[in-house]
């Protein structure tokens, strides 16, 4: 009996030793979160572009990268590295001001504001549901579209705060300014049954009221204003292939659709309409990368850049050199590619950015 008791005590003791080892194990200072490598340093004022990597919805893998076009180095996770915290869930769009960077973090419902030169966090504007795009106005305010809320948020960019809203009664996506008025694309009516997903709203920024609207094709996905101050709206035609995709040229004053270009394939979904620096050429993704002049009579038949093995996820055109930057998210679970092409479509180089590279914004104007 004594023997057994003794043995059991020994056993208890060995358990205690195991238990204390377990404390040792947990003593090391990892914080249990994703291990994210430190990027090489590169100043963000240089000639280059910010690449916003969305990550996957709910996955928290979003990040910010910077491609320096002088040194040709790409630095990943630069917001994280400076601030020791991630941007948030699905950083979707980015706006550069003189000294600040504004990043709309969609699924986190907030906007991160950072100093442009080193990305040190300046402020966080929270309180939005599903913010999408941000449009700075000349008076120091900005409009922010929202996928899941029937309003456009108004931000005071000096105080970094939400100061009001424009009641639009439904979801909005792309925002652009033309002839002093804000154009807000109604890309989705999901959750807002009875509302349109084939319309662009016109908002007067002085009164914050919807003053008019213009009908377009289904799902106006992206918009640009050309050198003639015409508004171009690229409509995907509906995510189930409801109608032929279209490209609208709209007179922003009369709201007349001056020309409607219709795509030939109902099972295509053109997206990411961009313009070059002179705003005389338009670019978009439709499998490959297409380019057209703003005075073209028809849509281009041949891509400027064929997709080959790529699945193009986003597009940007350098405002000075008209070089074309395209992102490929590969399997959406690994560091995606940023591909650089000359203006004529010849390949120059590729870089590995973050997970699901999306919006790309140049430092040059």
């Amino acid at each position: 009996m004594m023997e057994i008791t003794h043995k059991s005590l020994r056993f208890f003791r060995s358990l205690l030793i195991i238990a204390s080892i377990s404390f040792l194990f947990t003593g090391c200072d990892n914080d249990g979160g994703e291990v994210i490598p430190e990027p090489p340093y590169s100043p963000y004022l240089n000639n280059g572009l910010f690449v916003l990597n969305e990550g996957n919805f709910g996955g928290g893998g979003g990040s910010l990268s910077f491609l320096n076009l002088d040194s040709l180095t790409l630095s990943n996770d630069i917001f994280y590295s400076k601030n020791q915290r991630p941007l948030g869930d699905v950083p979707l769009s980015l706006m550069l001001l003189d000294s600040t960077v504004w990043i709309v973090v969609n699924n986190s419902g907030r906007i991160e504001v950072a100093q442009r030169q080193n990305l040190a966090s300046v402020a966080t504007v929270a309180g939005m549901t599903s913010p999408r795009h941000m449009l700075p106005l000349p008076d120091g305010r900005a409009y922010v579209s929202d996928f899941a809320s029937p309003l456009i948020h108004i931000i005071d960019m000096n105080s970094y705060s939400l100061v009001g809203s424009v009641s639009v009664k439904q979801s909005t996506e792309a925002l652009t300014l033309a002839r002093g008025r804000v154009f807000a694309a109604c890309w989705s009516n999901y959750g807002f049954e009875g509302h349109n997903n084939n319309m662009v709203l016109v908002v007067d920024p002085a009164t914050n009221l919807v003053v008019d609207s213009v009908m377009t094709g289904k799902e106006p996905q992206s918009m640009v204003v050309d050198k003639n101050e015409k508004l171009w709206v690229l409509c995907s035609g509906g995510w189930t292939g409801d109608e032929f995709p279209t490209l609208y040229r709209i007179n922003p004053r009369s709201l007349e659709a001056e020309q409607i270009y219709t795509f030939g394939d109902i099972n295509s979904a053109p997206a990411w309409l961009c313009a070059n620096g002179n705003a005389d050429s338009l670019y978009f993704i439709n499998g490959g990368i297409y380019a057209m002049s703003v005075i073209a009579a028809d849509l281009p038949d041949q891509p400027l850049i064929a997709p080959e093995t790529h699945l193009f996820n986003s597009l940007a055109v350098h405002p000075k050199t008209s070089e074309i930057f395209v992102a490929d998210a590969i399997d959406y679970q690994q560091k995606g590619l940023v591909l650089r092409y000359r203006a004529n479509g010849t390949f120059i180089a590729e870089y590995r950015a973050g997970i699901v590279p999306g919006r790309m914004v140049f430092t040059a104007k």
Partner: protein, 666 residues
């Protein structure tokens, strides 16, 4: 039931009568006697050992003679471990007592497992002979399976899963309830109070005689689950302590069973499992949403009626199961509010014949029908799945045992690939306890109904995932005085092709599944278990280790850096240690788990670091005649490890629970 397939399960309850007649299991009678003797001698040990009766029988009865798992890897979770988690879920049970990696968003939330580098849908979960994987995602939520509704849990790895169903490319988890025909009345009531406003109450009443046994088990568990965590999403270097929100959950369940033996050769069983699971879904730590934004509620009704009949040297089993599941998912800010109704009929008939002293044949036919009415599908969808399986156990010499199996399945009028499996156990010297085991199998996994029909994205053109697997192991099982030793070490290899991956569609960019990857998994598994039972003191120690290398062999293009990289969320090393010590009514349990690196990106550029957690439970029981009261305290994650199983989903730090349990038995 799965013929004898379910092995000990079938034997323990409904087949008890047959065992005593000694036709199929001539040597088992003495094993039972041994088991019962153990019980008699040990009765002064622990109150809880009253309830070992069933378990001892179950374990001891497993006949060496007809070992239908010979050659395959099976892990049986012992009754003491099940008891230690009697108030928990299958997710917690597997996390603490096996080297399986259970991926979850935290206590009470969706939990799935990956076995040997395969996906969650490659784990088949079979409860009392019916496959409870939901036909929609093709998987089971382990957090919604209460340990109270399980008397026996076994994991069959790789080829070993072929006996029970197709689709277990990783393996199968078998969960069974058993009946003790000697029972007159048994009552258990338990109440637990734990950290984060967690309350668990359950009760069990089992009564009957040698002809009829009735069993009722009920539970209500709930938790606010608002645990504090270090918010590294807000600051990595100086994380504030935040509280998990919108993570509350509750479960209410009933398991009603009736077992009847009209004669010594026949057993009839009826089981009804009704459970309601209601939970809020917490966002990751980078997302702020209103409380109650996202929730999931599910009501499952599962019923199984079965009959087992013996005649001559044959056994006939017939079983029919019905599952109805209603689930509601709501996400307020995303405007999602959907309902899914699933009805399944699962039928099986098996015939087993002992055609010679050393040869056992089984033929099993199955027919399953699933119907899904989901707001996520464009229309009502159905699946009809039928299979015919033939298997044989052959024991040509005492040193060698062979298992062979072949299954032909058809799904919706399409033939699935023929699925064979074979395993052997070889003991070169009968006087020396070293066994060599090996197996090979070809199997397939049909796409889930979500894969095929989800709207938008579902891809009706998906092919079956196909897999082959092989394994070799050495085992050493021996008793040294009062100490029994089980040791096993093995190597496995599996190759799963046409692996289904959801990725954005090339045009409209909504997600769609395609047969994209070829995943080759290989690794090592080792187990060491020691157990000792002495008149007034017992102890047990088990170690489970696995190393898994699971890599993608088919990149999408040259740009795809997932080539030859570890599949995401498959840990490389997992080591698990369990120890228990019982002495004078005290029981001390220690559970430790080390989980290695899990990559979160397919190119392995990001990962979650390894973590180590350990739990200690201290229980004390008091005997009062035929009653016993047991109280216990558990300290979980004693090292307060800050870890995540899914990126940016924090897990609880150190937490506590206290329980009181009342038992009565006569």
């Amino acid at each position: 039931m799965q013929g004898f397939g379910a092995g000990c399960t079938a034997i323990s309850g409904s087949d008890g009568a047959r065992i005593r007649k000694g036709v199929l299991w001539p040597k088992t009678a003495s094993l039972i006697a041994t088991a019962l003797m153990w019980f008699c001698f040990a009765q002064n040990v622990l109150a809880q050992m009253i309830f070992d009766t069933i378990d001892l029988k179950v374990v001891e009865i497993q006949s060496q003679r007809y070992d239908r798992s010979a050659g395959y890897k099976a892990l049986v979770i012992d009754s003491a471990t099940l008891r230690a988690h009697a108030l928990g879920s299958l997710a917690e049970l597997l996390t603490t007592s096996t080297s399986l990696f259970v991926k979850s968003y935290g206590q009470g939330t969706l939990a799935t497992t990956s076995i040997r580098g395969a996906s969650a849908a490659h784990t088949q979960v079979i409860w009392n002979g019916i496959n409870i994987n939901s036909p929609m995602p093709g998987q089971t939520d382990f957090s919604a399976v209460p340990v109270l509704f399980i008397d026996r849990a076994e994991i069959y790895y790789g080829a070993g899963s072929a006996r029970f169903s197709s689709g277990g490319l990783g393996g199968s988890v078998l969960l069974n309830t058993v009946t003790d025909w000697q029972n007159k009345l048994r009552v258990i009531a338990q109440q637990q109070v734990g950290s984060f406003s967690t309350f668990r109450s359950n009760a069990l009443v089992e009564t009957g005689n040698q002809r009829l046994q009735l069993s009722t088990r009920i539970l209500h568990y709930q938790s606010k689950n608002d645990y504090p965590y270090l918010n590294i999403g807000a600051s990595r270097t100086n994380p504030p302590t935040d509280h998990r929100y919108n993570a509350g959950w509750q479960q209410t369940g009933l398991l009603q069973q009736a077992f009847y033996r009209p004669d010594d050769n026949t057993t009839l069983s009826l089981r009804l499992w009704v459970q309601d699971n209601d939970r809020n879904l917490p966002p990751n730590m980078l997302v702020q949403v209103p409380e109650n934004n996202e929730s999931y509620q599910q009501t499952n009704v599962r019923a199984v009626a079965g009959a087992v009949h013996y005649f001559g040297k044959s056994k006939l089993t017939v079983q029919s199961g019905f599952i109805h599941s209603l689930s509601k998912y709501e996400n307020v800010i995303s405007f999602i509010n959907t309902q899914n109704h699933i009805s399944s009929l699962l039928n099986e008939a098996g015939y087993t014949c002992q055609s010679a002293e050393n040869l056992l044949f089984t033929v099993t036919g199955k027919f399953d029908y699933h119907q899904v009415n989901s707001e996520n599908y464009a229309q009502l969808q159905q699946r009809r799945q039928g299979s015919l399986t033939g298997s044989a156990f052959y024991n040509p010499w005492p040193e060698l045992q062979l298992n062979l199996l072949v299954r032909q399945e058809a799904i919706d009028k399409t033939w699935a690939p023929l699925s064979p499996a074979a395993g052997f156990n070889y003991q070169p010297l009968l006087s020396f306890p070293l066994k060599i085991k090996g197996n090979m199998a070809m199997n397939f996994h049909a796409p889930s109904l979500n894969d095929l029909y989800w709207s938008p994205g579902g891809n009706p053109d998906l092919k079956n995932e196909t897999g082959y697997t092989a394994e070799a192991a050495v085992a050493w099982n021996e008793k040294y005085g009062a100490v029994s030793l089980e040791a096993e070490a093995g190597w496995f290899y599996s190759d799963i092709d046409q692996w289904i991956v959801w990725q954005p569609d090339t045009v409209f960019s909504y997600w769609t599944p395609r047969n994209l990857k070829n995943v080759v998994a290989k690794g090592i598994e080792a187990r060491l278990a020691l157990k000792a039972k002495m008149p007034n003191f017992s102890w047990a120690l088990s170690l489970n280790y696995s190393f898994t290398s699971a890599t993608n062999r088919r990149p999408l293009s040259l740009n795809d850096h997932s080539a030859n990289q570890q599949v995401i969320y498959v840990p490389d090393h997992v080591l698990n240690a369990n120890a228990s010590l019982a002495w004078k009514g005290f029981t001390l349990y220690y559970f430790a788990n080390y989980t290695g690196r899990r990559y979160t990106t397919s190119d392995n550029s990001r990962y979650l670091p390894p973590f180590f957690t350990s739990d200690v439970h201290i229980n004390k029981s008091f005997l009062f005649g035929k009653s016993a009261v047991e109280v216990g305290l558990a300290i979980n994650n004693i090292g307060a490890a800050n870890y995540q199983l899914i990126a940016w989903q924090p897990m609880p730090l150190r937490n506590y629970s206290f329980f009181i349990k009342y038992l009565f038995s006569k």
